[in-house]
Amino acid sequence: MKRREFIRILVAGSATLLVLKPVKSSDIFVYVIDSSRCIGCGKCVKACRAENHVPEGKYRTWVERYVVYSNGELENVYVESPMGGEFGFEEVDIDTERILRAYFVPKLCMHCDKPPCVKVCPVNATWITEEGVVLVDKSHCIGCKYCIQACPYGARYFNHHEKVVDKCTWCYHRIMRGMRPACVTVCPTGARVFGKLTDEHIQDVLKERDIRILKPELNTRPKVFYKNIGWEVW
């Protein structure tokens, strides 16, 4: 009797140890980007820089332009992001007749459900919150830059003044106060949509079939979804 009880406690104890990972609520945040609505004005990049004091030359969010053209051969892809798209886009030296499709793609931290950056941090300075947001603790980060290497989306940057790694937080200080992220607030065309997974306007978008995530083969399970982008975006 005594031994059985002991075994039960042991099993229960190890079970709780295994499930120590915080249970994520269903109220996780989701970000949807409609590429066809993005006009590449760069207001989001500017707003982000002001809101989060992002240092010069570093980007928490940036806008890329994809131009797919053909000179008779199979598709060529031209990608650019001058100054992260902060000051808009110049003309490109491609004949308009030859362009098959062209569009802007805003990029930011994907706040993956299985973040490779969190997995490699040696000191637990970066973690995923209950709301599904991946954060960095600046007063804990030792600056080893390992998480930057692990991020397949190039979303993390090294802050050379504070000598720590920094990244998009989806404006955690705003969304927890019931506001939207700065980039979403200022977007004039509504290309950026933000909300909880259970929100109606998010559910509507997610029910559509042409929704995509970036680099699905890496199994990072991003929480940023893209609409109306081509195969060439990754």
């Binding site: 066809s36 609505r37 993005c38 006009i39 590449g40 004005c41 760069g42 207001k43 500017k46 707003a47 002001a50 809101e51 989060n52 332009r65 994809y66 131009v67 808009g88 886009f89 003309e91 490109v92 491609i94 308009t96 362009i99 062209a102 569009y103 802007f104 973690w127 919150t129 954060l135 603790d137 600046k138 007063s139 804990h140 937080t169 404006c171 955690y172 200080h173 705003r174 927890m176 106060r177 019931g178 506001m179 939207r180 700065a182 607030t185 200022v186 977007c187 004039p188 065309t189 509504g190 290309a191």
Partner: protein, 155 residues
């Protein structure tokens, strides 16, 4: 065998000291480590809080949206709400910041308007009204001379 015992005792003592140091520092919290080490090196940090709390200490610079501006600028609010420029005020006016005490600056240059309305490769005409002949259209004049930025008209 005596030397093995002695060396093991030394090793175990080092190990115990090491483990005590680790757990001691953990218990004392991050005010002590990395707090003290950082202060010696002149690094300012925020210690003794959960990471989420540290992140929440930041104050938003951008206001949530149009509704905040409405409190004082009701007239412009209603005007822009009816027009095409019904997006957030801070898109053009910049972050609210400490607004009532500091001025909000907005440029009314042609370049500023054309930043969005010029025709560019990749810009979808369905998403925004594009001025195709922007080099000729209203040449030499400001856009705001004819178009009210809060409620621009279209032909």
């Amino acid at each position: 065998m005596k030397q093995v015992e002695r060396s093991l005792i030394v090793f175990i003592n080092i190990l115990i000291i090491f483990i005590i140091a680790i757990f001691g520092l953990r218990v004392m919290g991050e005010e002590v480590y990395p707090g003290y080490a950082d202060r010696i090196f002149g690094v300012k940090g925020i210690y003794g809080k959960s990471g989420e709390e540290k992140e929440l200490e930041k104050e938003p610079i951008h206001a949530e949206g149009r509704e905040d501006c409405r409190k004082c600028h009701q007239e412009i609010y209603t005007k822009s709400n009816e027009g095409k420029h019904s997006f957030d005020c801070q898109t053009c006016h910049g972050p609210l910041g400490e607004h009532p005490s500091t001025d909000m600056i907005v440029t009314n240059s042609r370049e500023f308007c054309l930043g969005c309305h010029r025709s560019t490769i990749g810009r979808d005409p369905a998403a925004i009204r594009i001025v195709n002949n922007w080099e000729e259209h209203g040449k030499g004049r400001l856009c705001v001379a004819c178009h009210d930025p809060h409620s621009p008209w279209f032909d």
